[in-house]
Symmetry: C3
Subunit: 274 residues, 3 copies
C-alpha cells in the first residue's frame, strides 16, 4: 500500500528544513538522508524564511528550545504555512515545563501544522493543557493499550478535527489519524526507548515522506511510522545475533531505514485501518 509513497521520496528527493534540538540533530539528519530525502538545519532569524522557501517541508522540534530558536520556529513556520509546505510539529516534553507547553500552544495558534507527532503524554498535553508527562518520555498512565485503544482513536480523530492536522501518537501501539480515518500500527520494539531520539528521527522521517507526498499526508505519515517501527524490529534481530547493546541498536535502526525497500515494508508492516 505504500509503494508510491516510498518511490516518491527517492524520486523527488525533498529538501527538509529542520529546526530541531541539538541532542539528536545528527541522527535526524542521517535518518532523512537514509530515507532518500535531504536535510538542512538552520535556526537563525535572519535566514529561516529564506531557507524554508527552498524546501518542501519543515519539522519543528522543541526538544532544546530557547528564546532565540522559538522566534525562529514561529518565523519559519508562518513562512512555510504561506507556502503550503508540509509542516511537522514534534512537541518534545510538552507538559514537562510551562515553557514547552506554552511554546507548543503558541506554535499551534500561529501555524497550521500538517502533522503533529508525539508520545501519548505530549499529545494529551497538546489537547488539554494538562498531563502527567515524566520528562520527555511518555508516562505509563498515558500509554495506549489494547484496552483503551478505541477511546484513543476517537481522541486522535477529534484532535485532528480540532487542529486540522494529522495526529500521530506513537508508542507501543501507534495511532495515525485524520478526522475520519485512523491507522493502527503495531511495529517497533521496546528497546527503541533506550535510544535517545527515536521520536525525533521519526518526526524527521515523517517530514521527508510528507514533503514527497503532499497529496496523501495520512498515508505518508503512516508509511514513515511503519518504516521506523519495522526498522526497530530488523535492528533488534541484528543485535540479538551478535549480543550487541543500545548504541549498535541505534546504528542498525538507521541502517535498516537506509536499506528499506517496498517489499520489506510490505512484508513486515503490522498495520490496520479503522
Amino acid at each position: 500500500m505504500f509503494k508510491e509513497i516510498l518511490e516518491n521520496v527517492n524520486k523527488r528527493n525533498p529538501l527538509v528544513h529542520c529546526i530541531t534540538n541539538y541532542v539528536t540533530v545528527n541522527d535526524v539528519a542521517n535518518v532523512i538522508l537514509a530515507s532518500g530525502a535531504s536535510p538542512i538545519m538552520a535556526d537563525d532569524l535572519n535566514e529561516v524564511e529564506e531557507i524554508t522557501s527552498i524546501c518542501t517541508s519543515l519539522v519543528i522540534n522543541i526538544g532544546t528550545l530557547n528564546q532565540r530558536s522559538i522566534q525562529a520556529m514561529l518565523l519559519a513556520g508562518k513562512k512555510a504555512d504561506r507556502l503550503k509546505h508540509s509542516i511537522v510539529l514534534d512537541p518534545v516534553g510538552a507538559g514537562a515545563s510551562a515553557l514547552r507547553t506554552d511554546t507548543a500552544f503558541d506554535l499551534l495558534k500561529n501555524i497550521h501544522f500538517t502533522v503533529i507527532r508525539g508520545n501519548s503524554s505530549e499529545i494529551k498535553t497538546i489537547s488539554k493543557r494538562s498531563s502527567t508527562t515524566k520528562g520527555v518520555d511518555a508516562s505509563s498512565s498515558d500509554a495506549i493499550t489494547v484496552q483503551n485503544l478505541k477511546k484513543n482513536v476517537l481522541f486522535a480523530k477529534t484532535l485532528s478535527k480540532d487542529t486540522g492536522s494529522i495526529i500521530a501518537i506513537t508508542g507501543a501501539i501507534d495511532i495515525i489519524a485524520d478526522d475520519k480515518n485512523a491507522y493502527i500500527i503495531r511495529n517497533g520494539h521496546p528497546l527503541m526507548s533506550k535510544v535517545t531520539g527515536t521520536g525525533c528521527m521519526l518526526s524527521g522521517l515523517i517530514a521527508a515522506f510528507a514533503g514527497a507526498n503532499p497529496d496523501d499526508i495520512l498515508k505518508a505519515t503512516a508509511a514513515a511510522v511503519c518504516t521506523m517501527g519495522l526498522s526497530g524490529e530488523i535492528a533488534y534481530n541484528k543485535i540479538k545475533q551478535i549480543e550487541a547493546g543500545t548504541s549498535s541498536y541505534r546504528t542498525f535502526i538507521i541502517d535498516a531505514i537506509s536499506n528499506m525497500t517496498y517489499d520489506t515494508l510490505k512484508g513486515g508492516a503490522k498495520i490496520e485501518i479503522i
Copy 2:
C-alpha cells in the same frame, strides 16, 4: 560491592537533568539511557528551574559554555541545591581559558556540588586557579602515576574536605575520594582518549548513579567510574577481534554500558579502597 547501586538505577529509573556541551550531548543521553536512567536536556533560563525540579539529579558540563548557558547553569544549580538533588560538575577545559576557569569558580561559589569529576589538570585548576591544561585533555605533567599516587590521594581528600564534594579525578588511574576514604580504580583503556566525550559520558553516568543512590554517593560514583572503565576494556577486546577503529570503539563502549550486569562488574572491577 556495587550490587545495590546498580539495582537502584534500574529500579528507581532516575531522571537526570543535563546542561551539557553540544559536542557530546547525544552520547551523554545514550549513556544515561544505557545505564537504566533517563536524561532530559534543557538549558533555557525560562525552564531550567522547573525541569530540574522534576529530576533527581543534575549534571553541569561547561564544555561549550556561553553567556546564555552559564546563567542557566547557575539558576538550575541553585534550584537543584535547594532541592537536595545530586549535582555533578564537569569542569571541561577549566584552565584552558579564563572564562572556563572563572565560570567553574563561580559555579563552585554558588552551588554545593555532590560530585566534581574531571581530569587531573581540570581538578588541579579547580583547586588552585593554576594549571598546565592543554585544551580539554589532561596535561601529561599532571597525570596520576604510581609514583605520585599517594600524594594525589591526599590532594583529593583535602579538596573534598574544602569543597564538601566527592572528588573524582579520572585518567589512567582514577581516584574517587571524600574527605576520609578514597577508591583507586585501574579500569579503562588508553584508546578511550581517542573518543571524544568519554569524560562527559562518565559525568552523566555518575549523575545517573548518584541520583538513584543519594545515600551513598561515594560508592555510587566509584561504581560509575568502574562501569565506564570496564566498558572501555570490554569494547577494546571487541574491536581487536574485528580490527575496527575508534568509531566502532565508541559504539561498543556504550553497548557494554547497556549490557553491564553486577556479575560482569564484580568480575572485572580493578578497585581498591585506601
Copy 3:
C-alpha cells in the same frame, strides 16, 4: 608522497580549534582525534581568542551559523590570522541564503584563510556571489566532471590567486589547488553523500593536517582529502560484506581514518598533480 605529512600529525598532535555546526560537531571531533590530532570546540565571544591562541589551527564552519557565532568566528579568525595559524573555511550552504553568502564574504574580507574547502556550488558562490546551490548539497549542474575538469582546475587556481588560499573543491572528483599547482583526486564513494557531515569532517581533517604541516599546506590538504576519500572506499567495502547501511557506513569511515597508515594511503591514493 604523504609519509611526512601523516607522521607530523601523530608526532606534533596539533590542537584544532573548531567553530562548527551542531549537526556534525561530534563526528568532526572524532575524526580529528582519529587522525592523531586533538579538537577543542569553543564559540563564546569571551573565550575564542584565548582558546585559539593555544591551538595551531582553526576551522570555521558556517553550517548552523547564528548572530552570536558569526561574531565569534570573526574574532577567532582575526586572532588566528595574527598568530599565523592554519585557518580553514567551510562555507556550508553558501548560496542557500543571503546570510550564509554574506557571512562567507565577510569572513573572507576580514580573515586570510589558509584553505577554503567546499562543494562546487559553495566554492562557485564564494567566487562570484551567484550559484544554483540546492540546500547544502552541490547542485548537479555545478559538479566537476571529466568534461569540465580542465576549466575547473583553472578556476580553482585563479580563485587561489585571488584569495591567497588553497582551494579544495570536493565531490566525485576533487581539485586541490594553489595558484600554480593542482592535485586531482578520485578517491571516495557516492554513498558518502548519504552520511551527513562528510564534508565537515574533511574540513576538520584538513585543519588537523595543516596544523601539523604549516610548511606544506597544499600537500597537507591533498593528503587529508585522499585520507577521507580512501576511508570512504574502505568503509564501503566493509558494509558491502555485511549488508549494512548508512549509519554503519559513517562508523566505518571514521574507523578507517583512525586505522589509516602511510602504506594503506600510498596503495589506495588515486591522485595526480597537474
